[in-house]
Symmetry: C2
Subunit: 91 residues, 2 copies
């Protein structure tokens, strides 16, 4: 039973943790300290967890990774936008 | 079998993704765009995954989450350091 609660807390915390990061980026428009490589790798990784969850038919994995995928993709797209803008300004 | 490869790719990508973020923060010393709340929640969440992996006796979960915990804790500690410094400068 205690295992369930650790996995539940882990899933909620690691999923929900991307909400404050997404809100911070949306609010400040700043992605300077954020690694493009990290979010590219992380987003693909979460997509793989999503596929794995679908293969297992595990609804908790599917729901948690769908939310994380949406948030990570949002942060990744804002970071890509800023990286393109910085490159254009550097010309 | 395909499920194994998706879970393996997912674990490697989501774990390894924190390496470029940690290197970026160490190299630039900038944590401005990084959310302190995110890394606090995420670090606790990964610690919960680590405990869960230990309960299951799952070595892949233990190793992956130990690495992620080390990297996330490093980024969190650098973010806390900068947050304290910014507060002191604001006085």
């Amino acid at each position: 039973m205690i295992g369930f609660w650790f996995s539940f807390a882990a899933a909620v915390l690691t999923t929900a943790s991307f909400v404050p990061q997404a809100l911070l980026v949306l609010r400040t428009g700043k992605t300077e300290g954020i690694s493009l490589t990290m979010y590219a790798m992380f987003t693909v990784g979460v997509a793989c967890w999503l596929v794995y969850g679908a293969i297992l038919g595990s609804w908790p994995m599917i729901v948690a990774n769908l939310i994380t995928l949406a948030l990570a993709s949002l942060i990744l797209s804002l970071k890509i936008r800023d990286t393109i803008r910085d490159h254009q300004n550097a010309r």
